[in-house]
Amino acid sequence: MHISGMRRTAVVGALAVLALGASAACTPGGSSGSSTTAASAVSTDVAGAGDVTLKVSDFWGSAEGDWMASLIDGFQKKYPNVTIDRTKEDWSQLITTLNLQLTDADGPCIASANNGWGSLGTLAKGGLVRNLDPYAKAYGWDTLIPQTIARQNEFTTDFTTIGSGSLFATPVARVSMIGLYYDVDKLKALGITPPTTLAELEAAAAKAKAAGEIPFAYGSQDGGTAILLGLQALYGSAGSINDYVYGSTSVTAKDTGLLDAANELTSWADKGWLTPGFEGIDYNTAVANFVGGQGVFRWEYTGSLGLSAEQQSHFGYIQLPQVTDPSTTVGVGAAPGAMVISSRCEHPDVAAAFLDYLMSAQSAQTAVDHGMIPLLHSDVTVPASMGTLTTEAAGAAAVGKSDGFVPYFDWSSTTMLDTLTAQMQQMYAGKTTPEQLVAAVDADRTAGLAGQQG
């Protein structure tokens, strides 16, 4: 007994020593920083590149997938020497495994990453994706992409700062935004014209409530941050929200309109303007409720309602202007995916040409044809039958006119979305105040920034 006991202790001890030895001997992770920063000679000549096969991984399904497929067709027709081998993956599947896929020799050459530190920032810092500055110069992307959109894909090459520096990903010629949807038929029945300011929206909500309707279709069980971030963009300036998300410590969450938005939202909840029992309603149910006719308005990410062609004329979209200055429109908006070129890609010149094609006027028109909101190009034709898209495109154009795009707030730290979701749930339950929510958001970003610098 004693011997076997001692033996066991010895084995455990040996394992521990081995583990410590392994920890001290080598450090996990590849070489730090990007090795492709140095501008190698780039070429925009695709036809002369010979027979090339490009592997592309993205997360676009249904209409978005059709858009992508039709652009791949177009590119291959334009350059018959290029074959594009596309893999469609589930969004979370792709985002969580992209770091592994891009270290694999057989991995994709082009992939759609997520903006922010968690995905694109980590890949850029790890040297897994190319610095696209040379191509931006060659193709003139710096003039094509609006500044507020370009910043979403930029990092300084010491990787301490997001929102400035070199371009590590490109947008595509369509945009995803947060705004206010309304049920056209219900508004008509209530005798309300679509609101054009926050004050008008509140009057409409009060009227809807009095008439026995649910003013805002909502659920907070597993998220539901769009309503808060949508309101924030009505209070905070584009500059302050951008600076906050990109880590400027001279701006606090209170300066970004978050406190006003949280106060406003609490008052809506108190007035009973949100779907009854919304604490127990999950996201998918909340969307289904709104599309199914339970609720007059809904704050939502564009493209998330899943409207059929027939439903298009029954839902409208509003991008409300700022509270203090109705001539300015600020809105959360970004290209749905940050297109990166793998550092391992053998044909980066051809890959860059494809990214350029994804930002072309052709791409914007194809987006519209598939019912999605165009970006980068305004000379597109929206079919008259697409009622919702017409209003969505108008909203995007209004934000573009003010150069008022702000990034998704949860890019400010990798844990921000979890923090916001949990804090909002506590706020609805009266366990935190709007002030405490704002303080928690600041604390989360401070911790994230400390980790970034460390």
């Binding site: 004693h2 968690g118 790890g126 040297g127 127990g280 990798t414 979890d418």
Partner: protein
């Protein structure tokens, strides 16, 4: 005091210790058997080492670093471990696990013991069906179970309908969105899943207890309760140990149930270490923190298993 290696040849008929000659033969045989045994075990051992031990060591290594999974990691010593004390969310997740242990382990074992005692004392026809029904949750996929209970607990779900129907409408609420009730509600799902397993385990255990013991107890005038405490409970010591080990480790590892129903909410009131581990490993790249959580969970599971084995196997 036997050599540890003797276990290998115990019961081998070829070993005969009667004469010195045989003893020599036995020794060579002994050595040969040991090497043959090792040779047979080599491949499984190598596979085990590669897919279990090596990743385990790697996790221990990662836990001392601040690492995003891609770029150069930095050594941070025990910082990832001190999070269990300093990070209020991580700390509270340990408390939640204790509550879940009560629901996943203690409650079903108590219920399982009572029902096993009742079922074996008076054998009724149709008992097989009864057992089968209660065992059913054990074979269902956990995601299916979670989705099912999400509907039951919903604001307009069947639980609230039943409450309203019997005049308890005042109690209705969206159960999984309630800061007080979400965790117990999740715990009861675990009770429902593991109860049948415990009961079947205990019923088969009681059938192995000799009837004479029960007869003797009854002769001595023991009632149902006394009989249970004096005969059934000691006889089930091994089964209780198995049930405790399996259900407690299940509670400690709770992920799928929480992920499908509440994602740790409302607020962080149902957050478990496993959910935090997943978030740190795959969503907000912080591999060191994820590894530290994993290592602590593994050590705790191991300790619990060791303690339970020691306690229940003692004579």
């Amino acid at each position: 005091m036997p050599e540890a290696g003797n276990d290998v040849v115990r019961g081998t008929p070829l070993v005969d210790r009667t004469t010195p000659h045989h003893r020599v033969r036995a020794r060579t045989l002994h050595a040969r058997t040991r090497w043959t045994g090792l040779a047979f075990a080599a491949l499984p051992l190598a596979v085990y080492g590669f897919v279990v031990l090596w990743p385990l060591l790697q996790s221990v290594q990662y836990s001392f670093f601040d690492w995003d999974g891609v770029s150069q990691a930095t050594w941070v010593g025990l910082k990832n471990y001190t999070g269990f004390v300093t990070d209020p969310v991580l700390r509270s997740s340990l408390g939640h696990v204790l509550v879940l242990i009560a629901f996943f382990s203690l409650l079903p074992i108590a219920l399982g013991l009572v029902s096993a005692a009742m079922l074996t004392r008076a054998r009724q026809p149709g008992m097989g069906l009864f057992r089968w029904i209660f065992f059913l949750p054990q074979v269902l996929t956990s995601v299916v179970v979670a989705l099912m209970f999400r509907r039951i607990y919903a604001a307009e779900g069947s639980l609230n309908s039943v409450l309203s129907a019997v005049g308890l409408g005042g109690l209705t609420r969206p159960w999984l969105a309630d800061f007080t009730w979400a965790l117990p509600a999740l715990g009861l799902i675990g009770t429902w899943v593991t109860f049948g397993f415990c009961m079947v385990l205990f019923i088969s255990g009681t059938s192995a207890i000799p009837d004479e013991l029960y007869e003797a107890a009854r002769m001595d005038g023991a009632g149902a309760v006394r009989e249970f405490v004096a005969v059934t409970l000691p006889g089930l010591r091994g089964q209780i140990g198995v049930a405790l080990t399996l259900t407690i480790t299940t509670a400690l590892r709770t992920f799928d149930l929480v992920w499908v129903t509440t994602r740790g909410g409302p607020g962080t009131s149902t957050m478990t270490p496993a959910v935090l581990l997943y978030r740190a490993a795959f969503q907000n790249p912080d591999v060191g923190k994820a590894a530290a959580i994993g290592v602590v969970m593994a050590v705790v599971c191991l300790l619990i298993a060791l303690v339970i084995t020691k306690v229940t196997e003692e004579d």
